[in-house]
Amino acid sequence: MGATGQALREDPAQEITATEMGKVPRWRRRSRGPRGVGPTGRALTYLFGLFIILLSLFPLAWMAISGFKARQEVVRSPFQFFPEVWYVQNYIDILQDPAFVRALLVSFGGALLFALLSLTVNSMAAYAFARLEFAFKRVIWTIALMTMFIPHMAILLTSYIVVTRLGMLNTLWVLILPAAASGLHMFFIRQFYLGIPTAIEEAALVDGATRWQIFTKIFLPQSKPVFVVVGITSFLTFWNGYVWPLMTITEPGSSLTLIQPYLAIFRSERSVEYGMLLAGSTLAAMPVVILFLIFQRHIISGIRISGIK
């Protein structure tokens, strides 16, 4: 009893010092299987796990498979998961629509550009906030942080007025520039930079390196984990964006129509082409799913860092 109480009391202090990353991964210390739960509990656990997978993946699987169904087969009763005849034509047809392919390509290129710009702009600012001493630092940092809490709608409308006045409607710039700088990303990268030990850069400073050299030669090469998270988040934001492109790319059939507006327009204009619509949606979801699967480890551990810590 006494020993237990002591362990309980002592542990928090140890945990505080041990919560830094790089400690023994928690899963290693975990026992297998739910503790103190009988076989029923274990079966329930796995059942629930299965249920979660079904819940999250079924709609997507259904979308991809239904892309192979003939138009009248997508929605039918009795329900059938697989098509009677695999109808590849949907995927071929949508890929032969030049507007669709263009929307995919423009979205992809735009998302790449956007992610690159976001990384450049936010990492430079993050470095300044993490390591440099300059006038009004506290005030500027607080303002940058505050931008994180502005609900989207509060600036969406006046942003639209601003870009209209700047003559940016129907240009590539209106899609890329407005959301590139982000207080959240600055914060996130800065947190990462604060964790980089100062020893190397102090040595470099003594050797006469400039701050810019330290940023490009010491910080950037170490930034991969945080850049993966910020870069992919930016890519996803651009790729999945619907409302802003809907508002700012106003010419019908514009070559800047992105993929989400394309799908929404397709849905309202050719509403009966269910199979083709789902084939197009599947193709539009594929790049982000693949990207996520490649980098899932980084992204998932990124959530751990950004979460609350």
Binding site: G33, A128, W141, T142, T147, P178, W212, Q260, V289
Partner: protein
Amino acid sequence: MATTTAAKAPAKAVRRKTKNRDNKIAFLMLAPGLTLLSVFVIWPLIYAWGVSFYTWSFYEDSIYVGLRNFRLVLNDPNFAASIIRGLVYTVIVVPAILTIAFIFANVVKSVGRSAATFLKVSIYIPTIISGVIASIIFVLIYEFRQGLLNWLLGFFGIADKPWLGSADTALYALTVPGVWMGLGLASLIMLAGLLDIPEDYYEAAEIDGAGWFGKTFFITIPLMKNIILFLLVTGFVASIQQFELPLVMTQGGPTRSTQLPNLLIFQRFTTDLYVGYSIAGALLLLVVLGGLSAVIFKLISSEKAVDA
């Protein structure tokens, strides 16, 4: 470091010097980010406050009207109704997400490592899917004639319902894709919090004879109080702002039953000649939601964030 070599008297001067020593390079590196933030975030925000006191349109000179726009919004029964709808939507979505995320985290914790990875990846995938695609999928699942949901419910003897076509059910129908898309992030944050609880606590509790319920309610939940609070508030702020799903799935209908606050504001903005109403509405939401999330961020992420 520098102060140790300096004499006592000019210490202050030295500190001031070190304080601003990197001015030039710092402002060069901050310039792109701060310029973009200023033009596309801070200026629109200030501008919004300015515009909200005027009748403003793209085509006319503006006239100062004081608080009239705010009064218009606050006296508008449609706005109040949209807030209620937003609350109903939120009260369904957020607890659902939290409950599933909590169970999910416990499940992941107790399965093997590869199963855990598989579970984490699967639950996060819907999060990266766009609102438009989610809408397309769920609209077809909800289809009145021979849709998947009605077919499933047919087994329980429930007659076909026009889920999105009826004002009674449309809002509730929207909560499902809402939960589906919001689950991933909440689950992973919940899991991170759960894994942070020292295993020793459970061992100690076990020695004292605590069962699953005891451990959950006396160790897990109290220790995850902060995380749960964080998820509650961020979840509230996120879902009360939801408007892409109703915009694509129902356009706010039928008979406004899915017109959530932001959708109302957005639709008024695109149809009104004068934008004062929509901007005032958006600002009212900003005050409440921005304040709420700033407070929670301050509470949880604490001094660490601001001590530049």
